[in-house]
């Protein structure tokens, strides 16, 4: 079960009214069209992904209620899904969410040293966000890239064969992007090209 289970505060509201951009609404309409009639609930996970991107990186009860209305399902149906899947965040996260793999194959290639190094470098513990709101640091389970261990993702971008030097470079680069708007464009995702 996701560690979100039982710990999150989904009933917390901020009283804001949320509304998707027209472009997102168009995308959502297209997504709903992929499923048979009256099965629009299937669009829930894709729509939660879009919501999380568009509404600041995490979900809350107001956002979830809005989505429930949009897909014509009960709010509880959205809550139970959002709390089940690790990729949905119910607590506020930083601009860059760093998720490093902590499963066996990565550990056997020095993954735990990289975890320690990141803690030290960011000055925070696992699960915390830096005071400037830039980085949230999490450990996650196998990212399906074990041959390129140790591996981490920053938002949806993969970084492989981590070393202390490469971590330095990545963090420095991200710091320079602190004031750039966060792009929701798939192209922003640095291509994780595996060796053929």
């Amino acid at each position: 079960m996701s560690e979100n289970y039982n710990k999150h505060k989904i009933y917390e509201r901020n009283g804001k009214t949320y509304a998707f951009s027209d472009a997102s609404l168009q995308r959502i309409k297209e997504i709903i069209g992929r499923y048979p009639e009256a099965k629009q609930k299937s669009a829930l996970i894709p729509v939660l992904h879009i919501a999380q991107e568009e509404f600041g990186g995490s979900l809350n009860a107001d956002i979830m209620d809005y989505i429930a209305g949009l897909l014509n399902v009960k709010p509880i149906e959205v809550y139970e899904v959002a709390t089940f899947y690790t990729q949905f965040y119910l607590d506020k996260v930083g601009k860059f969410v760093i998720e490093i793999c902590q499963t066996g194959p990565c550990l056997s290639c020095g993954g735990d040293d990289m975890i320690d190094y990141l803690k030290e470098k960011l000055g925070i513990d696992v699960g915390e966000t830096t005071a400037d709101g830039l980085f949230t640091f999490k450990t996650v389970e196998c990212l399906g890239a074990c041959g390129y261990a140790p591996v981490m993702q920053v938002n949806t971008c993969f970084h492989q064969n981590l070393t202390k030097e490469s971590i330095d470079n990545i963090i420095d680069l991200l710091r320079t992007q602190a004031n750039e708007p966060k792009s929701n464009d798939d192209k922003w995702v640095e291509k994780f090209c595996l060796k053929k």
Binding site: S2, S42, H49, G104, E141, C146, L194
Partner: protein, 444 residues
């Protein structure tokens, strides 16, 4: 060089684009199937090939397709399982990244065989960059008349959509996947009814792994009989192995089934031996769910025969001295790796990934993690080892889906083969604390 079937064309530059793929002979299987065969012919050809599911369970694909309820008046669905989350496994992403059209071509032939007009690729959410690659390839296939209405002027129509997950290993289990695709939590369903009768939206459904579906076009092109002669015995054809851990050349390799494990680990064509010239300690050959074996038992069976990379040879000796081919996630450990720490990491993984439906799994995986944490931290008691083995026995076989078994086997096999290492952790906590990595053989 071993024979390549899936990866035959991977070095052709631009093979991820429709034009190059088509110029290199791609989509000929779709032409053959749609224009010269009936759906049942395609199923028969796959049966003849002896192809077994590449997602982990190794169930014969043709037989599974044979179960689809053709009498039902409901629509049929084909789902491609691209959830790939089993630790050690990273072959499907490799296929999708470099050969997206091989998967799409296979899906068209498979959907034709199953009389499905809608298919979904359920991909783990972390692989976001792949969704773009797949969507591009799908648009190209639509634009060239291989998807959509009346493909190649026949009466067969098909739509394929990509559907992302959101971080849940359990959604790789086919019924949990179906639940997730319906917009719910990934709680596996009790079988029967099997998805071939009651699957997605209550309709007849087949779920197949990416690699299984990618093998369909080559099989139709070369003929099932020909494919069945490749490989070794009931392990027909080729298999992708994703090799990782302490080896010189981690990566994805296509092997003809039947080469020896020793050859796979040490030859230059594959893993290239153990990194840094160290000694081999242990191997988990089929993803983290299958039993770990120590070096001597992975290289040779208990009867002294060389162990082969086949379903049968890896399983020889049962769980006492054997293991499984599983998903082909081949994890290699050198002499410096700690089996307690490694087992703990898997126990933590299964605890995190248990959906929580069945108490033996929900509670048992937590107990396993806590006991192993205690042992790893030097606070264990000797009787904890038997307690662990006992817990895993109580999980195994007592749950709705096989995640329970998958959680129990890594723990029980590690204790079976590396008991001394667990005892050492309990008896000499001060020594263990100071060596995160490092060979402890000299103490044993």
């Amino acid at each position: 060089m071993g024979r390549k079937i899936l990866l035959e064309k991977i070095n052709i530059s631009g093979i991820e684009s429709f034009d190059i793929y088509r110029k290199s002979g791609g989509y000929s299987a779709v032409e053959k199937a749609l224009k010269t065969m009936t759906p049942v012919d395609v199923v028969e050809e796959v049966k003849k090939s002896g192809l077994r599911g590449r997602g982990g369970a190794g169930f014969p694909t043709g037989m599974k397709w044979g179960f689809i309820d053709r009498k039902s008046d409901k629509p049929h669905y084909l789902i491609c399982n691209a959830d790939e989350s089993e630790p050690g496994t990273f072959k499907d992403r490799y296929l999708m990244e470099h050969l997206p059209h091989l998967l799409i071509e296979g899906m068209i032939c498979s959907a034709f065989a199953l009389e499905a007009h809608t298919a979904y690729i359920y991909i783990r959410g972390e692989f976001k960059y792949l969704i773009g690659i797949l969507n591009n390839a799908l648009s190209e296939a639509y634009a060239n008349g291989f998807l959509g209405k009346n493909i190649l002027g026949t009466t067969f129509s098909l739509d394929i959509y990509v559907h992302p997950g959101a971080g849940a290993y359990i959604c790789g289990e086919e019924t949990a996947l179906i639940e997730s695709l319906e917009g719910k939590r990934g709680n596996p369903r009790l079988k029967p009814p099997f998805p071939a009768f009651v699957g997605l939206f209550g309709c007849p459904t087949v779920v197949n792994n990416v690699e299984t579906l990618a093998a369909i076009s080559p099989i139709l092109n070369m003929g099932g009989d020909f494919y069945s002669k490749l490989g070794n015995g009931k392990s027909t054809g080729t298999k992708l192995i994703s090799a990782c851990g302490n080896i010189n050349k981690p990566g994805v390799y296509e092997i003809e089934m039947g080469i020896t494990v020793e050859d796979f680990i040490y030859s230059e064509e594959y893993c290239g031996g153990i990194k840094g010239g160290k000694k081999l300690k242990a191997v988990i050959p089929g993803g983290s769910s299958v039993p770990v074996l120590p070096a001597d038992l992975i290289l040779k069976t208990a009867a002294g025969q060389p162990r082969l990379m086949t379903y049968e040879s890896l399983a020889e000796g049962g769980f006492e001295t054997g293991t499984m081919l599983g998903s082909g996630g081949f994890i290699v450990y050198d002499e410096d790796q700690c089996m307690v720490r490694n087992t703990l990491s898997f126990a933590r993984f299964y605890h995190h990934e248990s959906c929580g439906q069945c108490s033996p799994c929900r509670e048992g995986t937590g107990w396993q993690e806590r006991l192993l944490t205690r042992i790893e931290n030097g606070e264990g008691r000797l009787k904890d080892i038997d307690l662990l083995a006992d817990i895993s026995k109580h999980i195994e076989g007592n749950t709705i889906c096989p995640l329970g078994d998958a959680a129990a086997w890594p723990v029980s096999s590690a204790i079976r083969h590396f008991r001394k290492e667990f005892e050492f952790h309990i008896q000499f906590p001060e020594i263990v604390k100071n060596i995160r990595h490092g060979n402890i053989d000299k103490y044993l």
